[in-house]
Amino acid sequence: MTSYFIRRFMLIVPTFIGVTILVFAVTRLVPGGPIERMLQEAAMAGADVGAATTSFGGGASALSDEQIDELKAYYGFDKPVVLGYLEWLSKVVQLDLGTSTRYSEPVWDTIKDRFPISIFYGITTLILTYGVCIPLGIVKAIRHKTTFDNLTSAVVFFGYAIPGYVVAIALLTAFAGNLGWFPLSGFVSDDFDDLGTLEKIWDVTHHAVLPLMAYTAGSFAVTTMLMKNSLMDNLAAEYVRTAIAKGMAFRQAVFMHAFRNSLIPIATSFGSNITLILTGSFLIEQIFNIDGFGLLGWESLVERDYPVVMGILVISSLLFMIGNILSDICVALVDPRVKFGSGETSQ
């Protein structure tokens, strides 16, 4: 088993190289880039100074060819793709993600600032999702086809059917705009630093209620129904009948026997949630103006801030791969029949 996980960790390297080559090449191939953006900005600045300033020849460029070449060299666009990639990769290995073309500061610093916000929302979402879905799934399975079961199914599927950003806008309009119960946007209030500890906690919570509702509304359906169906399968299993034949109460049999078995399918998806923690949802972040990872990724793509795009890719792809391995570990933890890579067959 250990050797299996060592192998899995070693496989991260080629996968990582594959993913980054692909995205690096795409950033080079698609039209537009940091230089074009700068030219555009320079042209607009030039237009502001005076419409009388004549541009060079037929091209509407505000910079000379030499200046452009200089910029290209500065950003490393003068080299062929392969060389550029190798250069970028060797820096990444030294934990240098480069410099943001938009903020002119190290990519790592840009990303680092967003971590606490994204991790806060990610972990809270994760806890809320599992904290609600697992108990809800259990109750629904036990009370299959009762009013409670039908009603909650309607609610979770309603949440599932509506996109998160629509929920976000609806909540924002109703509870922040019209009723004014919650702040309109942001992660904390402007005077956050002057608040006491309790007030700080209240402030963060107050700001988080609506975005969290928007984040989680759609995520209940899948896990709840997975939990419900998986538990129902196990409740019908013969070993639960054996437990009851031993003299166990039904309720006891549910928790002592069926519960752990029905967590197996849930465990397979647990690890991949680690990526959700960071990537978040840029649309919801945009709506609530939360300066998280999702929003940063979206903006850097729009602004062609490729070093940041690549930096986010590095982090999220690593997390994704580690998340998959984590899922395997989770499955092995709940299901003793799972033996990775030892070549031993179990039924």
Binding site: Y239, T242, I244, K246, H257, P336
Partner: protein, 327 residues
């Protein structure tokens, strides 16, 4: 006084065509220490009878719709769930057909065994439970029990798993063991071992066994009395000796004639009972065997035959058993 007395027990299931009675007024008794065989084809209601006795019918689709189950002087079907639990696994234990699926795949067998014992001995300490588990594993002939108890069901062979199931059933020294086709899923050699084990354990503990099977060979080997079921009803009941020597019901005769015999001519056609068991939705009004019976006449199709005494302890449900006998 009998240990278990089942009287006019009926059980029904909800299906898409409405409620269907799958066990129809079944009555039999088991004395302490006795082995009663319950035999019949697949789907004849043997297992449902057993599950009804234990109160284990799948809810909410199945339910007992009539009759009583008495255990000593208690009536089990009147007991509240809580009191019934004190019987299950304690006075009446049950083992099932598929030892693979009947054990929890993610729990060590030792823990599952310990649970069976501790449920009915709540005051037992951890050490006492452990020593009882080891004792039980030894009793059912599992070598190296201290190592085996730390294993998961998938690490054991089918025969070993069934031994674990039997050990679990024995945990509280039950008065009655209901064995629902415990050897059907096993290899023939393992079958013989399990049957021998059950017989030895019975001699050792004095428990009664209700042995459910479709295999008449197993009945002959283990049981003192036999109840033959067909399509939810009892067709015939007798001592094993009487049943094998002089079966009265045409169905029992057919079953016995269908067993290939070593002393017969090799490579001859196997005798079978023509036709199939009527499905639960299409049960005939009269004798349920009438459509397959070589002796069926009009009265058989119109009226269900009652159980009639042939001899002491030998009953048959057939309008024409005297005629058949004379022929």
């Amino acid at each position: 006084m009998p240990l278990l007395s089942v009287c006019d027990l009926s059980a029904a299931f909800d299906t898409e065509d409405g409620e269907v009675t799958v066990v129809d007024r079944v009555s039999f008794e088991i004395d302490p220490g006795e082995t009663l065989g319950l035999v019949g084809e697949s789907g004849c209601g043997k297992s449902v009878t057993a599950l009804s006795i234990m109160g284990l019918l799948p809810k909410p689709a199945g339910r007992v719709v009539g009759g009583t189950v008495g255990f000593r002087d208690e009536s089990l079907n009147d007991l509240p769930a809580e009191r019934l639990r004190a019987f299950r696994g304690n006075r009446i234990a049950m083992i099932f057909q598929e030892p693979m699926t009947a054990l929890n795949p993610v729990q060590r067998v030792g823990r599952q065994l310990a649970e069976a014992y501790a449920l009915h001995a709540p005051s037992a300490g951890a050490a006492a439970v452990r020593s009882r588990v080891l004792e039980l594993l030894e009793q059912v002939g599992i070598p190296a029990p201290d190592r085996r108890m730390a294993e998961y069901p998938h690490q054991l062979s089918g025969g070993m798993r069934q031994r674990v199931m039997i050990a679990m059933a024995l945990a509280s020294r039950p008065d009655l063991l209901i064995a629902d086709e415990p050897t059907t899923a096993l290899d023939v050699t393992i079958q013989a071992q399990i049957l021998e084990l059950l017989r030895d354990l019975q001699t050792e503990t004095g428990m009664a066994i209700l042995f459910i099977t479709h295999d008449l060979g197993v009945i002959a080997e283990l049981c003192s009395r036999v109840v033959v079921m067909y399509a939810g009803r009892i067709a015939e009941q007798a001592t094993a000796r009487a049943l094998f020597a002089a079966p009265r019901h045409p169905y029992t005769k057919g079953l016995l004639a269908s067993i290939p015999r070593l002393e017969g001519e090799p490579k001859t056609v196997l005798t079978t009972i023509p036709g199939t068991v009527p499905g639960v939705g299409e049960l005939p009004a009269g004798c349920r065997f009438a459509n397959r019976c070589p002796h069926g006449v009009d009265v058989c199709r119109e009226r269900a035959p009652p159980l009639e005494g042939v001899a002491v302890g030998h009953d048959v449900a057939c309008h024409r058993w005297r005629v058949v006998e004379a022929a």
